[in-house]
Structure formats: structure tokens, C-alpha cells
Amino acid sequence: MPGLNASLYLGLSGLQAQQSALSVVGQNIANVNTPGYTRQRADLSSNLSLNEGQLYFGTGVTLTSVQGIRDRFLDLQIYRETAKESGASDRFAGLNAIATSLADSGSSGIGAQIQAFFQGFQDLSAQPQSAALRTNLVNKAQGMVTALKTRYQLLDDQRNSADQAVGSLVTQVNTLTDQIANLNQRIMTETTPGANNDARDQRKALTDKLSALVGISVFEGAKGEYQITLDSGTGVLVNGTSAFQLRTSPGGALDGKSSVLLDVGVPPLNVTSDIKEGQLGARLDLRDNLLPGLQRQLDQLAAGIVQGVNQLHRTGFAADGITNSASAAPHPPLAFNNYFFVGDPTNPSNPGLPVGVDFTGNYKGMVSSLAIDPNIVLDSSLIAAAGAAGAKGDNTKALAMAALQTALGTVDLDGNGAGDSGTTYSNVVGNLISDVGNKVQRYETQTTAQQNLLTALQNQRDSISGVNLDEEASSMMTLQRGYQASARFISVINQLTDQLVNQFGR
């Protein structure tokens, strides 16, 4: 039979265990709103009993471990989906910002401006000698040039801002991977596996943040350490206790934009095209693929207009019925090739387009160098509306240039140097608009779908790891009752001792 003192210790172990368990409940309640917090459970177990003869007497209770309730596979899945969600929503935001202006179907849109330019030629064909209509045409052309250039510039600005974002995102990624590597260190050296709940929670919260920044694949090693690679599988960001730094290096990517290097050794690994998801992946995709694709369509459209108009213009005659490409007196120091837009008659692949712009480069740089020939701006009588020498009232060239508006096969979209069958300027603009619209719609749908998936996963994670206040309240009540009962038990043993020591034998 255990003695009174043994019973006192038994009661004490109960008090201590209930109090410790209560502090775990307190920790849970305090962290009810902490992102990434995993609820903890106090594991109580009864102590080994003492045997006296054939009887076994218990010796109370101990708190053996404080366990975090987590599903680590769910965590890994959430990292993956978070990256996809932020990748889709950043692509959506980047494209949506330019969609409205690029796809403007109103009077200031590209479509309307091109239409107005060719309308200028139609008007001129009715009165080829009218100086007012010639000036009108130059103004309409200027309007179209501006419309194309501002859209192109808008895309350029968006690309530059994506480029800047890449730099700052890389810094954030480096900070996070450093911290994750430190936490890996603490987790690998914990006394019992799974004991360091808070380090794990912190690491999870940081990895959640990291996965929103950059697409990653995460594996958990034997000692609980995270091994993190880029989502394409190439490039290790964190390996156990060491983190590898990303950095940007000017040049090396499309149009002299900076490339992203991973410092795994010498030479560093170029991972610019290996980052697919997350904000970083989305910005790189916008910068190097999505936006340049739209810029290319603008270049092709502008090249189609310039080449069509310039080639016809070169064979025409100015308002005096005499001046043509052979006899034109340039306004020094500006050379005049009898082109409407600035162009180069000796351009080897596409005569009539500016120097250096041709189909081999998919007309890159066309919009940037798009301008009305300065001679025509100075003297609109140089516009070649007449098709025959000496006929001032002749309008055949003006008619031919106006007819380009609805002519088929005027734009080269496949980059083979010849206009594609069935293309007109207006349906190229239409395609551009529906292309932008479809992309925006696609990433919008994808964002919604990813959000739904992520919310479902987070709800599932919360259903396992989240704190439920009702549950904590009921644990609190149980533990409080346990503590009160243990205290009562000690007080009973105390009375027994009192009985024995002070009242016995009176």
C-alpha cells in the first residue's frame, strides 16, 4: 500500500500535468489568428506503477510530449498550388492592365485610327489637289502613328515594370530561403523528432510566402529538413542547412532585360526560363513571352501598312503632277525617296520598310521607327495621289492606297516575307483584341479555379491543424476540473495526514 506521502506526490503530478496541458490550450487560444499556426496537443500518460506483492499502484501522470497536429503532405500540396495561384493572378493583373487600352474599340482605338487614316486617302481621292485634304491626311496618319506607338509604349512600360519587379522579388526570395535554411538547422537538431513545433510553423509560414513569390517543389528529408527546388526541377534553392542565392544580371534575356542566375557554383546557373509559377514566374513570363507576343503583332500590323502604302506611293506623282521618286527635290538635309512613311528603298528584304526592319526579324522595331516621312510633313503637296505624269487631277494612286484598307493579304503574320492570305488590317486588329481578351479570360478563370482549390486545401489544413475555440474552451473546462479535483485530492491527503499527526491518540 502506498504511503500518504506517495499519494501527495501522485496528486502533485496531477496538478502539474493539468497545468502544463492548460498552458498548451492557452498557446492554442493565443495563436488562433496566427497564419500558419498548427494547433498543439498535450500528450498525457500515466506513470509506471509500483508493485507491492501482487498489487500494482499508480504513481500519477506525466506530460510526455507536446505534439503539433499536422499533415505534411497537405503542406507540400499547398505550396505547389499557392505558386500556381499567384502565377495566374499576376499574369491576369499584368494583362488586364493593358487590355482595356490595347483593345479599345472606341474612336481612339487602333482600329478606328487606321480606319481614319485610309479614310483620309479616300477623301483625298475626291479632290487630289486640295491642300486642306492633304494636310488632313497627314494629321490622320499622325493620329494612327501615335495610336500604334502609345500602345507599343504601354506594353514596353509594362515589361519594364515587370523587369523591375523581378529584381525586388529576387531579394525577397533570398531573404526567405536564408531563413528557411536556418529553421532547417533548428529542426534537424531537435531533441526528439517533431518536438520543435514552432520552428516547423515558422518554416511553413515562410515557405507559404516563398511559394507565392516563386514556383517551388518541396521535399521533406529524413530529419524533417526541407529541400526546395524551382518548380521546373532545375536549380536548388534550399538544401538542408544551406540556401543558394538568386541574383539578377543585366542583359542576357530578351531585349537586354536582366536574366536570373542561381549561385550554385561557378559559373552560376541561368534559371531565367526555369521559373514557371509564382509572382516571379508570372513577371518573367509577362516580360519575355506574353507582352512581347503582343508587341510583335503590332510590329507586323504596322509593317503591313507601311510597306503597302510606301510601295504604291513611290510610283505616284505629287500634287504638281511632275514630282516623283526620280525628280523629287529633298528638303535638305532630309533625303526623299517618295515614300509616305520613313522607309528605305535599299532594304534588302522588305524595300519600303525602315532600315533594319524586315521579315527575318519578324518586323521587330517597326513601331519604334514608325514615322511619316519628314518631307511630307513639311510639304503635304508631295503626297503622291496621281498615277500618271502631268495629270494633276488624277487620283489613281490615292484610290489604290485607300483600297489597301480592305485589301486581302496585306499583313505578314507568319514571318515568311509575304502577306498571309485573308489578312486585312482590320481583322489583324480584331485578332489582336480577341487574343488579348482570351488571354485575360484564361488567366482570370485559372485564378478563380486556383483560388477555389487553394481555399479548399487551406480549409482542409485548418480542419486538421487549425484552432477551434469551442474545442479549446471544452479542453480548458476539462483541465480546470482535473486541476480542481487534483487539488481537492491533495487537500484530502493533507487532512488524513493531519488526522494521523495531530488528532491520533488524543
Partner: protein, 302 residues
Amino acid sequence: MSFRTASTTQQRQSLLDLQRTQERLAQNQTRLTTGSRITGPADDPTASAAILDFDNSIKVNTQFIKQADAALSYLTPAENNVAAVIEANMRLQELAIGGSTASIAELDAIRSNLLSMANAQSQGKYVFAGTATDTKPFVLANPNDPTSQITYQGNSGQIRLNLDGNAANPNQVVTNIPGDTVFFGAGGLGSSTDIFQAITDLKTAFNANDTAAVKVVSANLNLILSNLNKAQAELGGRQAGLENLKETYANFNATLENLQTAQAETDYPKVMTDVAADETMKSVTLSTMAKTNKSNLFDYLT
């Protein structure tokens, strides 16, 4: 079975739903205030491109209506002048039958009038000069002698305007009629179909009192009249064609505008219903969110 629901779960779900409802509301409000179903190309990429296409077609058609008007602005004065020449020709016929040397002054006046009609301008361009629209087409051999021979300085060029967007084989209208075919006729300068020559011949005949010669002139004037009538009919025919074309394009545009509106316009009853439903949804979500955290077990602990 029971599914653990963490305290944050419900709040997260409600917040996501609330954000989506608000986004829909904002979008539908834009639809209501702009009257356009499409708030951005992503709402309906196909329709966005179609609307642009309709818009383009409407503008192109409007441009062709303008072209037809421009053609009319040359054809109408030309026809009016030809009609006036026909009037003058009839007076010449009357004079050939009943005239005498006393009519010579009137003949000179008619000749000068005809000369100014032949040099008529519309919007600064000579109507009867072919494509040499800035050259005075009919000039006196001796500028100081109004009775001297009149020659043609224009050419026989035609000025055409496009009336449709068929680039390879456009529907074109010729907006001018070369002056020599109107005033000199098939025979050309100084021939029996030259109206100026007829007046000179008539004067000579009156002066010589040669009735046979007067009869020849009278016969010539009949030839000239039929030539003028032909020119008038041609000019009138072209104008009638243009008026028809304008009406066709205007009707076509009305149809296109209807189609475009069908694609672009807000369906007010539907959007209003959606807005009402979303507003209800929003207030329900808000009140649920407020109530969710209102009570838990801690409220009942003493």
C-alpha cells in the same frame, strides 16, 4: 461523422465569397452606367472582335456614302451646265429659223455665255477639263477677240471614285465628262458638231443673207442637241445610280448597327436582376460573417 471546422475557416470562405460578389456588383454597375455589356475584351473576346469588325464596316460604308456625295458634287453642276447649254441650243434653233442680222448681238452674247458654262468650276476644279482640273479648258484663240475660235486645253482623262471596298475590282463612278465631247461633239474642233462653230457659221450666214447656209446650221444644231441630250442622260443616270447606292449603304448600315447593338448592349432587365440578387447575397454574407463569431463556448463559461 463530424468534420472539424477551425475558427478561421468560415471567415476565410465568407470573405472570398464576399469579394467575388463585390467584384460582380462593380462589373454589373459598369455595365449599367455605360450601357455596354462588354467592360473589357476578356468579357467576351469573340464579341469584342466582332463589334470592332461591325464598327469598321459601318465606318467604311459611311465613307462610301461620303464618296458618293463627293461624286455628286461634280456630277450635279456638270448636269446643270449641260441643261443650260441645251436651253441655249434651243434659242439658237429659234434664231436660225426667225433670225436676221439683228440677232448677231444676241449670238455673241450666247457664245460668251456658253464659254463661261464650258469653263464652269466646282470646288475650285474645272468640271469639263478631264483630269487637268486646274487648267481652264476652253480658251479663245485671241483673248481680246470674243468671237475668235475656241480651243480645248483639257484632256480626255476620267476621274474615278471608289464606291466599294473591293480592292481588286472596285465599283467606280466616273465623276467627270471631258468638255470636248460635250461642246465639240463627235466631230471635234471646228466640225459640224462644234456648238461654237455653229454660232460662228450662223453669224456668217446672217451677214451673207445665205438661207441655205442657215439651214445647214439648223441641221447641225439638231445633231448638237442630240449629243447634249446624250451627255445629260449619262450624267443624270450616274447621279440616280449614286442616290440608289447611298440609300443601299444607309440601309445596310442600319442593319449592321442593329447587329452591333445586339452584341454590345447591356441586357438591362438581366443585369438589374443580377445586381438585385448580388446585393441580397452581399447583405446575407455580411450578416452571416457578423454572426459567425458572435457566440462560442467562452460566452457560457463563468
